[in-house]
Symmetry: C2
Subunit: 159 residues, 2 copies
């Protein structure tokens, strides 16, 4: 197993517990929280090359690291790859490490080149096209459940 989960003492359940207290089904939420905290509140040391690249469609590959409230993904897009318009409750920060992505967002067209950042508020619809082969670092809060659960059909060419 390439991903190294190091033993540690989870001390950071406060924010998740606070959210749990805010739900109607408190006891169920507590169980969910306890399970999630046990899975994610650990020190993780992970070389990117040890994380398998997931093929989403012929022009799109992805790998990601999931923390407690942070997800960081490396998204590899071949020139011409189109990410259809979508939105999500997760805040997103896109940092282009190499290449260029054209975004359609908030009524504007914005080309984000290597060394540039686009910070996308939660719930804001956006579409993108790779103008070149691109390496895109996407940061999310909270982690994208649809990516983790592979229910992100909009990226897989399925409706």
């Amino acid at each position: 197993m390439a991903k190294k989960k190091l033993k540690t003492k989870p001390k950071t359940k406060t924010s998740i517990r606070a959210k749990a207290k805010n739900t109607k089904s408190h006891s169920r939420a507590k169980r969910v929280v306890a399970k999630r905290a046990a899975v994610t509140a650990a020190l993780q040391f992970i070389p990117w090359h040890t994380i398998p690249l997931e093929d989403l469609n012929p022009l799109l590959q992805r790998q990601f690291v999931v923390g407690q409230e942070i997800m960081v993904a490396r998204v590899l897009l071949k020139k011409g790859c189109i990410v259809p318009e979508h939105s999500h409750h997760n805040e997103q920060l896109t940092y282009i490490l190499d290449g260029a992505l054209k975004f359609w967002i908030d009524g504007k067209e914005i080309v984000v080149h290597s060394g540039e950042v686009l910070c996308i508020p939660a719930h804001m619809p956006h579409k993108a096209e790779a103008l070149e082969d691109t390496v895109d670092l996407d940061v999310f809060n909270p982690p994208r459940a649809d990516w983790i659960n592979k229910t992100d059909q909009y990226l897989r060419g399925k409706k």
Copy 2:
């Protein structure tokens, strides 16, 4: 002004509002939330080169982008730079883009090289030393108030 804040319609106060409802001082929290959301819940397009590099000490420079719940920082460390042991309530994900950092964390010594990630749970004390000139991308949730307010004396050689 280099940083471009694009006009947008903030739609994303839900999670912060939920947190506000969870506090004892609801009305005060609502005011804080409203102020914060007005400042940060905007689409931002920011080339890194337009963000001034802050000199923290002769071996350490930093620049960062602040979203609503995400902060992403580029931290430039010269070989030999030491980040003294510290901890914070913010979850941290460190992605070394170039160089290498040695961490003392959770009773272990871990060298994180270029292309590797360390995911540090909230409240976990850690110290680091740059083994080479290093470009480090640090992701935080929530944003580091001490960095924003410049009260991060542990990085400035002041007690």
